[in-house]
Assembly symmetry: C2
Homo-oligomer: 328 residues x 2
């Protein structure tokens, strides 16, 4: 199979051009008429670094690659627009495998209203995906960066954390789930393998007046520090308020770990951490409720200074620096 | 060195935000205010497939990765806007090496008025680059796809071809250049290692009324076939009219190859092939002259049918199917 044949088969799976996407895959470039402001993010996933083919099916790998890229758009409060996928194909991946992987991404694209608008296919020593996503907003001010939080803002968190870290432990050693029902263990594995980009929640928080927002890819500890640094402020998080996914405590105990540090340092939950002025919290809660995607929990506040602290009841800080992927 | 430290050093090299790029690297996504229409293209380069580190310096690899991506924008007639670079870093590439590579891309970005707006860095088994470029035009009709050529249009070519193929032969076996001056051999190697995206020429041709356009990445034979197929027409190219780079004939002879088939099948010249109505050829020539980037040569015409033929004087066709990268 050659590049052109595979690209033709891929193209047959893509949606037709629409009002914004005027010319899709198959030309030198895709043509769009964006209007307003755009948010653009690129993300790479490499076999052996970010995933293992023996732990996740090909469709799940394709789906997660797009999900993690879209999560960056969610963190900007952008509406998803177009996605472009570069696929590095190793010698042992068949044409059917490539299409299964792209079908996984295409299913999430359809779920989220994202147009797969183009891509590139090349040989590579290991399965490699690079995903570019473009999101849209009526004006640049409606896109929320990491740097706008100020002292007095509240910190809110969508959904629950720790599930992806516990799921990864379970994938590496299923015996750690011996205290869990099969359903709970399955949900934890899915938190690792099939994260949900909080696109509706992100747009709701942006619309409700969030001053800064970030998605939890590196872990709450690290990502809270990123938000604090970009905002030139400190953040103080109350560990007792953190909503942990069901089963995290059991898996942590079985692994000889403390659940809160595991949840705060583990990464890959892809929930949103946002700063919001206290008087906007009501609006945000209503908007999140209407988006019906995830709960919203108040977990702390923005303070003067520059430190990101997660404190246990009694004041002891948790050491959860967030992982640094190159050092992982 | 970790991902965050490297990203911080990379970021310090990037240009500040401007009127279109409101928020650059360092947040979850870059924020732009495009206006009009955008052309978006992604391209991947993998060590051992597209380049060898022993044949090209790191700065040259970074520069070529961006150049080949920008060439797709040139082929749309788009003005270059933003670029996003994913870097897969192998174990034997140092932080200094990464920065040298990105400096190479940044130099071409500065030369072409492209803003390096973001990226991602990850570990990878071999050096891997995925480049996303976004170009701009006042309206979607000003972006020229491959599919608009009709019978009666003339085919024009920017610059010269064959140089990149001859340069690759020289890189693999320097002895093939024994009949050449060092200057000519050096120019041929540069055609392979440091291609020039024909951005000004592409915009000039789009403005002059080109009906279809493609850049020569796969070789004239293959790329002319792509243009013909997308346009639902045939193309007939006069091989005697083709402008070959100086030294191609000598390298081909030393390698026991015919120069015209080598030039037509070799690929990577990154010149533009455009279809244009005869009455617009004068405007196009003037516009290309003003762009002062490359010559413009009339090489054939668009005809009824579906075949892409390159004919020698006397009518014998050249077999130059263009390479298919996965089969390379």
């Amino acid at each position: 199979m050659g590049e052109f044949e595979l690209l033709a088969k891929v193209r047959a799976r893509l949606p037709p051009a629409g009002p914004r996407l005027r010319l899709g895959s198959g030309d030198d470039a895709a043509v769009t008429v964006p209007g307003g402001a755009t948010a653009t993010s690129v993300d790479a996933l490499v076999e052996g670094v970010h995933f293992r083919r023996d732990q996740a099916g090909l469709a799940a790998i394709g789906r997660k690659a797009l999900a993690t890229a879209l999560s960056d758009l969610a963190a900007m409060g952008a509406a998803p627009g177009e996605a472009y996928i570069v696929l590095g194909v190793p010698p042992d991946l068949s044409e059917e495998g490539c299409l299964e992987l792209l079908d996984g991404a295409a299913a999430l694209a359809a779920d989220t209203g994202t147009a797969l608008a183009g891509g590139d296919v090349t040989r590579a020593p290991v399965l490699t995906l690079a995903v570019t996503v473009v999101g849209h907003a009526p004006e640049p001010e409606r896109l929320i960066g990491r740097g706008g939080a100020g002292p007095g803002d509240l910190l809110v968190l969508t959904g629950e954390i720790g599930g992806a870290a516990a799921g990864l432990l379970l994938l590496d050693d299923p015996a750690l789930g011996r205290e869990l029902s099969e359903e709970t263990a399955g949900l934890l594995r899915r938190r690792q393998l099939d994260p949900t980009p909080r696109l509706r929640a992100g747009q709701a928080l942006a619309g409700a007046g969030a001053t800064a927002m970030i998605d939890l890819s590196d872990g709450l500890g690290g990502d809270a520090a990123h938000l604090a640094e970009a905002s030139g402020a400190g953040v103080r998080i109350d560990a007792a308020a953190l909503p942990l996914s069901k089963g995290v405590a059991e898996v942590a105990a079985a692994a000889g770990r403390e659940p809160l540090p595991l949840a705060c340092a583990g990464g890959e939950d892809y929930e949103l951490l946002a700063a919001i002025p206290p008087e906007r919290l009501g609006d945000a809660s209503i908007a999140i409720g209407e988006a019906a995607e995830a709960t919203l929990t108040r977990i702390g506040e923005v303070v003067a200074g520059s430190e990101a602290e997660i404190r246990l009841p009694g004041g002891k800080p948790i050491d959860a620096p967030g992982f640094d992927q190159l050092d992982r």
